[in-house]
């Protein structure tokens, strides 16, 4: 179960206090400096190696500008290609993810609170999760036809498991005394679900949502590589056919930046929502 849950840094008690601020400043510096040094090293290595497959970052930056940027201010400086491809990609990815989260959380919480239901569904879920989602792309392709429905189906099927299994795990972790407290005060069903089970499961749910989000990006790319009429994945495939490595790398960079952006936003939301946790946000899973 925990295989779906990535470990995230915990700030232990020994990290707090006066030395913390200086430490944080150093780590921010490192966070900025290390990638810059890495990019410079890559530039030098690429110029020296002169391989068409690994263009220097400056060439990639130029290709990035030409492909995705340089549009008018009314389009937020995005090029037409960007508007016509990034937006549909993101809509599919985020739409599929949102559906998977809603389904996964409701189903997972229900399963987590019923040992009997878990007995029946557990092995089936463990197997379903083990199926590599791209393997089902051809099935969804014939069932839903080329394009958005197929891509949505692939994304939803692929990313629902981490959320579902983590939600079940979280809902199961409601402590017996917490359960008894709710029973003693005869807390009505609705209030029990939304006031106790959901908050108790939330740290695990967030851990699952983060894994799912990065998986959604991966599946969005795969489904677009296989069959799409637009999208970042299609642009990547087109660049491959032209052997245009600069543009391929520009697409890779764009996808990496988007992945980083979504992860950061979700983390920020998580910190806010889980601010009630003793000692700040804790490790969500593993």
């Amino acid at each position: 179960m925990s295989a779906t849950t990535a470990v995230r840094p915990v700030r232990g008690p020994h990290r707090a206090g006066g030395a913390g601020a200086r430490r944080r400043a150093t780590s921010t510096l490192q966070r900025v400096a290390v990638p810059i040094v890495a990019v410079i090293a890559w530039e030098i290595a690429a110029r020296a190696g002169d391989s068409p497959f690994f263009p220097p970052p400056t060439d990639i930056a130029v290709a990035f500008w030409e492909t995705w940027l340089g549009g008018p201010a009314s389009q937020l400086f995005l090029s037409d290609v960007a508007v016509q491809n990034i937006l549909p990609s993101l809509a599919r990815m985020l739409g599929g993810w949102a559906v998977a989260v809603v389904v996964g959380v409701s189903l997972g919480c229900a399963l987590g609170r019923s040992a009997t239901a878990m007995d029946y569904a557990g092995p089936l879920l463990a197997f379903a999760r083990a199926i590599p989602p791209p393997a089902l792309v051809p099935v969804f392709l014939v069932l839903f036809e080329l394009g958005t429905p197929m891509q949505l189906a692939t994304i939803i099927f692929g990313v629902v498991w981490p959320v579902l299994l983590n939600s079940a795990d979280g809902a199961r972790s409601v402590h017996p005394v917490q359960v008894q407290t709710a029973q003693v005060f005869r807390i009505p069903r609705r209030q029990w679900v939304f006031g106790v089970v959901l908050p108790a499961a939330l740290p695990k749910i967030f851990a699952g949502m983060r894994v799912s989000l990065s998986l959604a990006l991966i599946l969005m790319v795969i489904s677009e590589l296989v069959g799409a009429t637009n999208g970042i994945g299609l642009q990547l495939a087109l660049a491959q056919r032209r052997f245009d490595f600069d543009t391929m790398w520009a697409a890779v960079v764009l996808l990496g930046a988007l992945g980083h952006l979504f992860n950061s936003v979700l983390l920020a939301v998580e910190r806010r929502v889980l601010a009630w946790q003793p000692g700040g946000t804790r490790k969500g899973g593993s």
Binding site: R31, Y120, I222, L225, G256
Partner: protein, 256 residues
């Protein structure tokens, strides 16, 4: 315990029954979603055909090799980087920078670079599964409770003894979790590459060939089931290793 097994089997049977009825109901064309009876009959035939078995072996081999290579690189590197605090912070920043790059986006690039042979899928799977493993290992080594190390030091243990008796046992559960995450990612990458590259054999290729033009969905689903069984068994085996040798981790986690 027996009741749980029986219930699990009933759950499976129930799912297959619903699938069977749905496929035969005519809501979708039966060729598009063949019922489980057809799929399992096809699977039984396929498993006796040497070419199919060879494809299964090709996928499993590529997967195993990728996981072994990724572990051989990431675990020692992670232990090394993680045990020096300043290096750990810097390398974590680098890992954080490189990790979001979706490995699947590199598939087209590596295909052009390396062709469609097994080295392509292994390279991609190694690259993709490197990150969670590296990240978990660095994290485990650098976030160890200083009290544990100080306790060992107070008892006069040498640096290497501390490494073997305190730091590695502390890191082991995190590393194992990293291996499990990596293994599932590696399988996705191997099958995705086979699916997109063609010509390299393996289950992904079987799925691609049979699925082209909406053809033989019974074969597609058979191969998908086999892929699921491979992933399931791999995870179950690693979980068993984790329980058996690192069973104490649950108590440690509970005390946190």
């Amino acid at each position: 315990m027996l009741r749980r097994v029986v219930r699990g089997v009933i759950g499976f049977a129930g799912f297959l029954l619903v699938w069977e009825l749905f496929s035969r109901s005519g809501v979708v064309r039966e060729e598009f979603l063949p019922p489980p009876t057809t799929v399992f009959a096809r699977l039984a035939v396929l498993l006796t055909e040497p070419p199919f078995v060879a494809d299964v072996v090709a996928t499993v081999l590529a997967w195993l090799i990728a996981v072994v290579i990724a572990s051989a690189i990431a675990v020692p590197l992670g232990l090394l980087l993680g045990s020096v605090p300043s290096v750990a912070a810097a390398s974590r920043a680098l890992v954080e920078f490189l990790r979001p790059i979706p490995s699947v986006a590199l598939i087209p690039l590596v295909i052009v670079l390396l062709g469609v042979g097994p080295e392509t899928k292994i390279t991609l799977a190694v690259y993709a599964s490197l990150w969670p493993l590296l990240f978990n290992t660095i994290y485990a080594m650098s976030e160890i409770d200083p009290v544990q190390v100080d306790t060992a030091r107070a008892f006069g243990l040498s640096r290497s003894r501390i490494l073997w008796t305190v730091q590695l046992p502390h890191a082991a559960p995190f590393v194992m979790t990293g291996v499990r995450i990596s293994a599932s990612i590696a399988l996705i990458l191997v099958i995705s590459t086979e699916l997109l590259a063609g010509g390299s054999g393996g289950l992904g290729q079987v799925i691609f060939d049979a699925g082209a033009g909406g053809g033989r969905m019974d074969i597609v689903l058979s191969a998908t089931l086999v892929a699921g069984v491979i992933g399931f068994l791999g995870n179950a085996a690693l979980e068993k290793v984790q329980r058996r040798w690192l069973g104490w981790d649950d108590q440690i986690d509970a005390g946190r």
